[in-house]
C-alpha cells in the first residue's frame, strides 16, 4: 500500500498544476508535496514533464491552473527572481553557469540577492569544503571546467543564494557514473548538514531512489506512482521500467526480454 504523501503542512505543496506550451499540455494535473528537510526525487522518462514542473515551481513558466504554495504562501505566477528571493532556487538542466566569469565570481553571483552579508563567507567556505575541486580552480573561468565541475559549480552557486528549497534539474546529465554518484552524495550531504529541502528531477532512477527519501514517478504529465523511495523501489513497474531489473518471468532460454509488458503502477 502506498503511503499518502500529501500532508498537512508541507514546505512546498503543489495542487493540480497544469502547464501548457501553446497548444501542448505538458503537465496535465500534478499534485505533490515536499516536506521540510526531505530530499524528494521526481522520476520520469523524456517528455514526462519533469523539467516543466521545476520551471513552473521556479516561476519561469506560469501554470495554467492549480496552486503552488511555498511555506504556506502561494508562489504561482510570481516572477522567478521573487520566487528565488523567497528561498526556492533552481539549478537548471545543463548547469548554465557563466562561462566567462571565474569560479569565485560565479559563486558570488549566486549570492546576488542576499541581504545577510554576514553568513556569506561561511557559506562560501562550506561550498569549497564540499567541492574541493572548486577551491582548486577558484580563479579559473567557469567555461574551462569539466562537466562534473560545472555541475558542482551550479549547485554551489545555487547554495550561495541560501535556499530553503533547492530544485535540481537532472544533475546527472552528461556525467560519468562515478561523477554522478559523487554529486548525489554531496547533494545528500548538503541536505543532511544544512537541513536544506531538496527536490531533484532525475532520469537515473537507481541513483535517485538510492539517495532521496521520497519519490514520485511522472509519465506524460501525470503522477503515476508515489511513495517513499524504498516503497517505490519495490514496485514491479519501477523495477522493470526504471531500474532495468528483468520482469516477473525470465525467458526460458535466457534471452533478454525485448518486449515491454504494460505498466499498471500497482
Amino acid at each position: 500500500m502506498t503511503t499518502p504523501l500529501l500532508s498537512i503542512r508541507p514546505l512546498l505543496s503543489i495542487r493540480n498544476v497544469e502547464t501548457w506550451y501553446g497548444p501542448i499540455n505538458a503537465i496535465k494535473g500534478v499534485s505533490l508535496d515536499v516536506n521540510e528537510g526531505r530530499m524528494v526525487a521526481v522520476l520520469g522518462a523524456n517528455g514526462a514533464g519533469k523539467t516543466t514542473l521545476l520551471k513552473t515551481i521556479a516561476g519561469v513558466i506560469d501554470p495554467f491552473k492549480g496552486n503552488i504554495d511555498f511555506d504556506g504562501k502561494p508562489i504561482q505566477r510570481l516572477d522567478p527572481d521573487e520566487v528565488a528571493r523567497r528561498g526556492v532556487v533552481l539549478v537548471p538542466e545543463g548547469r548554465q553557469i557563466f562561462p566567462f566569469l571565474s569560479v569565485r565570481e560565479n559563486l558570488a553571483m549566486g549570492a546576488f540577492a542576499r541581504r545577510d552579508k554576514a553568513g556569506l563567507g561561511d557559506d562560501l567556505e562550506r561550498i569549497l569544503t564540499w567541492f574541493p575541486r572548486l577551491r582548486e580552480r577558484s580563479g579559473q573561468e567557469g567555461g574551462l571546467l569539466s562537466g562534473g565541475e560545472q555541475q558542482m559549480l551550479a549547485i554551489g552557486r545555487a547554495f550561495m543564494a541560501k535556499p530553503r528549497l533547492l530544485l535540481l534539474d537532472e544533475p546527472s546529465l552528461g556525467l560519468s557514473p562515478v561523477l554522478t554518484k559523487e554529486i548525489f552524495a554531496i547533494v545528500r550531504r548538503i541536505n543532511a548538514e544544512t537541513n536544506t529541502t531538496i527536490l531533484v528531477v532525475e532520469q537515473n532512477a537507481a541513483i535517485a531512489l538510492a539517495t532521496a527519501h521520497d519519490g514520485y514517478v511522472m509519465e506524460l504529465g501525470r503522477i503515476v506512482a508515489a511513495g517513499t523511495c524504498a516503497e517505490l523501489a519495490e514496485k514491479d513497474d519501477v523495477k522493470e521500467f526504471y531500474l532495468g531489473v528483468a520482469g516477473g518471468h525470465a525467458n526460458p532460454d535466457g534471452r533478454k526480454q525485448r518486449w515491454k509488458r504494460r505498466k499498471t503502477w500497482r
Binding site: M1, L6, R15, K28, G29, A226, P252, Q257, W259, R261
Partner: protein, 612 residues
C-alpha cells in the same frame, strides 16, 4: 436430424466458405480486400493477393504434415497474417482457433493441448515467449510461426519459423502444387468443422465451440438482413478476432458484401484509426460506444459557449426526432428541415470528430446495452442498432431492423430460425445458426443443445407481440435478495455504466439484505474531473480514495437509483482501487468485469459494505 443429412446452404452455388472465398477472389480479383496500417502508412492487399497468400499458407501447412481435421492456432492481435493463416487453413480443411493476445501462458497451453493444435502462429516476441514456456507440454505441436521478428534477429530455434519464410516456402510449393490446394477446397463439406471458438469460460475451463461450414454459410447469407453496406465500403477490424463477432465481421461478412477491411496499427491506435478510416459499418460492444460518447460529453464541457449552445439545441432537436421515431410517430417537415440545418452546423462536426461521418450501419451487442446510450446516438443522427448473439449461435441470432427500432430490445430473429422462451424464461434458439457442439465434450454439448435441437442460451429474456427479444440477464447471475426479490443486476449495471465516470460496475446482493456495487472508475474522465475541480491526487489508488471522487460516484449512483424501484436501488458501493488491465483475471479480454472473479477477489471489500 443428423448434421450430415441436413441440406447444404448454397450461396452463389457454393456450400462452404472456402469455395465462396475462391469465387470472390476471382470475381473481385483486382479490388482491394484488406488494408493494414504500418508505421503510419496504409498498405492494400487485393482479393487476388489475399487468395495467393492464403494458398501459400495453406500449402505450407500441408507440407508440414497438417491433414484435414487437424487444428491450428493463432495467437495475435488483428492483422492480415491472422486471416491469411485462418483462410489458408480453412481451405485445406484444417480447424483453426484463436487465443486472446492477453492470455497467460497457462491459458494458451490449455487451448493448444485441448485442440491438439499442430501449428501455432504467434504475433511477436512477447507471444513467442509464452509458447517457449509451454511447448514441451504441447506434444502435438510441430511448428511455431512468428509474424513479427522485431527483437528476434539472433534468435534461432529449430521449431520456430518466421511468417515470411513460411509463406515464401508456400509460394514455392504453389508453383507445382496449386492444384492440390484447389482440390482441398473442393473436398470441403458443408458438415465439416470450420473453426473452433473457445468460450471465455467464467466458470471452469474454456470450451471449444465447433462452428460448421453450414453454420457459416447460413450466417453469410443473413448478413444483408442487417447490413446495407456494399463493395468498396470500409470497416475496421479492431475487436479480438478470437471472438465470434469480429471473426464473422472480418472474415465472413467480407465474403458477402466485399467491403475493405482495415487493420489498425495496434490496439492502442484504434480511436485514431477510426477517424482516419471513417468506416461505413461499425460493430462494437456497448463499452466502446460509451467511450466515444463520453469523449464528446467531456469535450463539449471545454468548448466555447456558442458551440455548446448549438450542440445543446441540435441535440435536443435530434432527441425529439429520435423519440418520435422510437414511438413510431410522424415528424413534421418543418422540424425535419430545422434538424437538417442544425446537423450541418453542429452534429456533423461531432460525427466527424468521432470518425462516424460515413457510418451507415452502427451495431452493438455482445453485452447488455444501456438504453440512454442508444438514444444519445439516435439524437446525433446515428441509429445504433442492438443485436444479440453468442458463440454457440455463430454470432448474431437477433438483430434490430433499421426501420423499426425498439429501445431495450435486441431485435427480431433471423429468417429461418426459431426462438422461444423456455423454463425460467430462458432464451432458446433453433436453426441453421446453432453450432455443432463443444470439441471433445459430448456431455457439455448435450447440456447446450437438447434432443429437439434447441440451443439453451442461459440468458433470461422476454418477447413482445412483434417478436422483439429483450435480454434481461444471464440466468445464473440473477440476484435473489434475502427479502426474496429477484433482481437482474445487468440492467442496473448498464444504467450505472452510462455515466462517463463509471467504466464498469458489478452489482452484488445475492442472499443479502440490500444491493451494493463495486465500481471501476474511468481513469481518463475521473482524472479530468479531479483536475477541473482541483482535487489533489497522485496515483490511481489515491484518485479512488479522494472524497470528491467518492462523492461524484455516489451522485452518479443516486441519479440511477432515482429511476429504479426501491428494492433495486444500490445502497452501498466501493471503488476498485487498482487500475485493471486486460491481463488481470478480473477483466474479460473485452474489458468487462467478471462477476464471479470480482466477488471472490474483493470479498473483504464486499463484506465491509454489509458489516454496518
Amino acid at each position: 436430424m443428423a448434421l450430415e443429412q441436413m441440406p447444404p446452404i448454397l450461396l452463389l452455388g457454393h456450400d462452404t466458405p472456402a469455395k465462396l472465398f475462391r469465387h470472390r477472389c476471382t470475381e473481385w480479383a483486382d479490388r482491394p480486400a484488406l488494408r493494414r496500417k504500418q508505421k503510419g502508412i496504409w498498405y492494400s492487399v487485393t482479393w487476388a493477393g489475399y487468395y495467393e497468400r492464403a494458398r501459400a499458407v495453406g500449402l505450407a501447412l500441408a507440407d508440414l504434415g497438417c491433414g484435414r481435421g487437424d487444428a491450428i492456432t493463432i495467437l495475435a492481435e488483428n492483422r492480415p497474417e491472422w486471416v491469411y493463416a485462418d483462410m489458408g487453413g480453412q481451405c485445406m480443411g484444417l480447424v483453426g482457433n484463436g487465443i486472446y493476445p492477453t492470455s497467460s501462458p497457462e491459458q494458451a497451453e490449455y487451448i493448444l493441448t485441448n485442440s491438439d493444435s499442430r501449428v501455432v502462429f504467434v504475433e511477436n516476441d512477447e507471444q513467442l515467449d509464452k509458447l517457449l514456456l509451454i511447448r514441451e507440454r504441447c506434444p502435438a505441436l510441430l511448428k511455431i510461426i512468428v509474424m513479427d521478428l522485431t527483437g528476434l534477429r539472433n534468435f534461432r530455434d529449430p521449431q520456430v519459423v518466421s511468417f515470411d519464410d513460411f509463406i515464401a516456402h508456400g509460394r514455392e510449393l504453389a508453383r507445382t502444387q496449386a492444384a492440390s490446394f484447389e482440390a482441398a477446397i473442393d473436398a470441403g463439406r458443408a458438415g465439416d468443422v470450420a473453426f473452433l471458438v473457445y468460450t471465455s469460460g467464467t466458470t471452469g475451463a474454456p470450451k471449444g465451440a465447433m462452428v460448421s461450414n453450414r453454420n457459416l454459410m447460413f450466417q453469410i447469407g443473413c448478413v444483408t438482413q442487417y447490413i446495407s453496406i456494399g463493395p468498396g465500403d470500409k470497416t475496421l477490424s479492431f475487436l479480438p478476432l478470437c471472438h465470434i463477432a469480429e471473426r464473422m465481421a472480418t472474415v465472413f461478412n467480407h465474403l458477402s458484401v466485399g467491403m475493405i477491411v482495415h487493420f489498425p496499427e495496434n490496439s492502442g491506435t484504434v480511436f485514431n484509426d477510426i477517424k482516419e478510416v471513417a468506416p461505413h459499418l461499425l460493430f462494437a460492444p456497448p463499452r466502446f460506444w460509451e467511450k466515444l460518447y463520453s469523449q464528446i460529453e467531456l469535450f463539449m464541457q471545454d468548448s466555447i459557449p456558442l458551440a455548446r449552445r448549438f450542440y445543446k439545441w441540435a441535440f435536443a432537436e435530434g432527441k425529439a426526432i429520435a423519440e418520435a421515431k422510437i414511438d413510431g410517430r410522424e415528424v413534421s417537415g418543418m422540424r425535419r428541415w430545422r434538424f437538417k440545418v442544425l446537423q450541418v452546423i453542429a452534429l456533423s462536426n461531432v460525427r466527424s470528430f468521432l470518425g462516424l461521418q460515413n457510418v451507415q450501419n452502427a451495431l452493438t451487442g455482445a453485452a447488455p446495452v444501456p438504453p440512454d446510450l442508444l438514444k444519445w446516438y439516435m439524437s446525433i443522427g446515428i441509429d445504433l442498432l442492438e443485436a444479440y448473439g453468442m458463440t454457440e449461435s455463430t454470432g448474431f441470432s437477433t438483430a434490430t431492423p433499421p426501420d423499426r427500432i425498439k429501445i431495450g430490445f435486441a431485435g427480431v430473429k433471423a429468417l429461418d430460425t426459431e426462438i422461444k422462451l423456455g423454463p425460467e424464461d430462458e432464451v432458446m434458439i433453433r436453426g441453421p445458426n446453432v453450432f455443432m457442439g463443444y470439441w471433445k465434450l459430448p456431455e457439455k454439448t448435450a447440456e447446450a443443445i437438447d434432443a429437439e435441437g434447441w440451443l439453451h442460451t442461459g440468458d433470461c429474456g422476454e418477447m413482445d407481440a412483434d417478436g422483439y427479444l429483450r435480454i434481461k440477464d444471464r440466468i445464473k447471475d440473477i440476484i435473489i435478495t434475502s427479502g426474496g426479490k429477484n433482481i437482474t443486476p445487468s440492467s442496473i449495471e448498464n444504467q450505472l455504466k452510462f455515466s462517463p465516470y463509471i467504466s464498469d460496475a458489478v452489482v452484488i446482493g445475492d442472499g443479502r439484505k440490500f444491493l451494493s456495487c463495486l465500481v471501476m472508475i474511468d481513469q481518463d474522465n475521473v482524472a479530468k474531473f479531479a483536475q477541473d475541480k482541483q482535487v489533489p491526487y497522485t496515483d490511481f489508488a489515491s484518485l479512488t480514495r479522494a472524497p470528491e471522487v467518492v462523492a461524484l460516484v455516489r451522485y452518479e449512483i443516486e441519479t440511477v437509483n432515482a429511476k429504479l424501484a426501491r428494492v433495486e436501488q444500490v445502497k452501498e458501493f466501493r471503488l476498485i482501487q487498482e487500475l485493471l488491465t486486460a491481463e488481470d483475471e478480473e477483466l474479460t479480454p473485452t474489458m468487462k468485469l467478471k462477476r464471479k472473479v470480482v466477488a471472490r477477489k474483493y470479498a473483504p471489500l464486499i463484506d465491509e459494505m454489509y458489516a454496518g
